[in-house]
């Protein structure tokens, strides 16, 4: 892969893998986190407090970005799978997915960071 010029479409595929693995790793963590409920409400409440802080929230924003990107790019691949003729527009479709992900993450990120932002506390 190294030394070969990376196109946007290749980057889109790589991002798809990366976000997929990221979401999967989160899923495992999520299962463990929720499984602490089996040890009673106290243990569960305590683990929940571990997840209420800024670094974790930033991670959650990243997770959201991964989910949004993975879904949109997945849709792109599905569309091309069902209608191979649409591959003719693979470049605009790829750019579209990237732009849509960024566009969606601006409000989503702002909403998610609000509880930790100075202006968020004021609101």
């Amino acid at each position: 892969m190294f030394g070969y010029r990376i196109s946007w479409a290749q980057l889109a595929w790589f991002g798809h893998r990366l976000s997929g693995i990221g979401v999967l790793v989160y899923l495992f963590m999520h299962i463990v986190e929720n499984a602490t409920l089996a040890f009673g409400p106290d243990v569960y409440d305590f683990t929940q407090t571990l997840f209420r802080n800024l670094p974790i929230r930033l991670g959650e924003i990243l997770l959201m970005a991964a989910l949004v990107y993975h879904s949109l790019n997945g849709l792109r691949v599905i569309v091309m799978d069902f209608w191979p003729a649409t591959t003719a527009w693979y470049r605009p479709l790829t750019y579209g997915v990237i732009i849509a992900t960024i566009a969606a993450m601006i409000p989503l990120g702002l909403i998610m960071i609000a509880p930790y932002a100075p202006w968020g506390r004021i609101l």
């Binding site: 070969y4 196109s7 290749q10 091309m80 799978d81 003719a88 693979y90």
Partner: protein, 234 residues
């Protein structure tokens, strides 16, 4: 103008590993990278080894990794390539010497899709098998392939799994699967349905970007995939 040509060279009798060597050559903007390789071979170092035949983008002999992308050396002009040009052998095959790679595996995969018309019936009029312009159009794009290997050796799926039949072979399977005169479609689809067949495509489009003939290879692969699914009743 002067062009700095960086070539990845390898002589199995002397080198343990490939290494870069630099050459300065005189060139016109309208020269092709192949002309620069000729200059080196003819006037600077006769041991430089590479494949080329037609020198006009027809035979598909001189696919090389030029400036980070697979291209035909005989089609890539200096004015587009710039004054610093790097040339490497295409990836995923064993380098025999310098820019020359072993394509036996590539041809084996090509042969595996039976790239020839199969029809043992006598034509209705006893002379020719007629085809409407629409039927001909169905595989027009894939009939443009010159078998240079630029697509297959640009494919990350192929790099990670050399057993993948590869874009070039699928393009040539497409060429006959969608030919109304052909009768071996089923057999070809079975070959394509193999674990190392069409399923290995990850729609990365490196093949499309690399194809010197501008074939929409990914479309061909996805059309064959759809056909495989139909045949399997999915």
């Amino acid at each position: 103008m002067d062009v700095l040509l960086r070539l990845k060279r390898f002589d199995p009798e002397r080198d343990a590993d490939p290494h870069w060597e630099e050459y300065t050559v005189q060139a016109d903007p309208s020269d092709r990278v192949l002309d620069l390789l000729h200059q080196v071979k003819w006037y600077q170092d006769g041991t430089l080894t590479f494949r080329r035949s037609c020198a006009h983008g027809v035979c598909g002999s001189d696919a090389m990794l030029i400036n980070g992308r697979n291209r035909l050396a005989c089609e890539y002009l200096v004015k587009d390539a710039g004054t610093e040009i790097s040339v490497e052998p295409i990836r995923g095959s064993q380098v025999i010497k310098d820019l020359l790679v072993d394509l036996d595996g590539f041809w084996e995969k090509y042969r595996s899709v039976m790239p020839y018309l199969v029809n043992d019936e006598v034509p209705a009029d006893g002379k020719e098998r007629r085809q409407s312009p629409e039927e001909r159009e169905r595989f027009d794009d894939t009939s443009k392939c010159i078998l240079c290997g630029a697509c297959t050796t640009a494919c990350p799926s192929f790099w990670s799994n050399p057993d993948f039949v590869g874009p070039a072979a699928i393009v040539n399977a497409h060429r006959f699967i969608f030919d109304s005169r052909d009768q071996a479609g089923e057999e070809r689809l079975q070959i394509m349905a193999d674990a190392d067949g069409v399923w290995r495509c990850r729609t990365i489009f490196n093949c499309v970007e690399a194809c010197p003939r501008g074939i929409n290879i990914t479309r061909a692969i996805l059309e064959v995939t759809a056909e495989v699914e139909k045949a399997q009743g999915a």
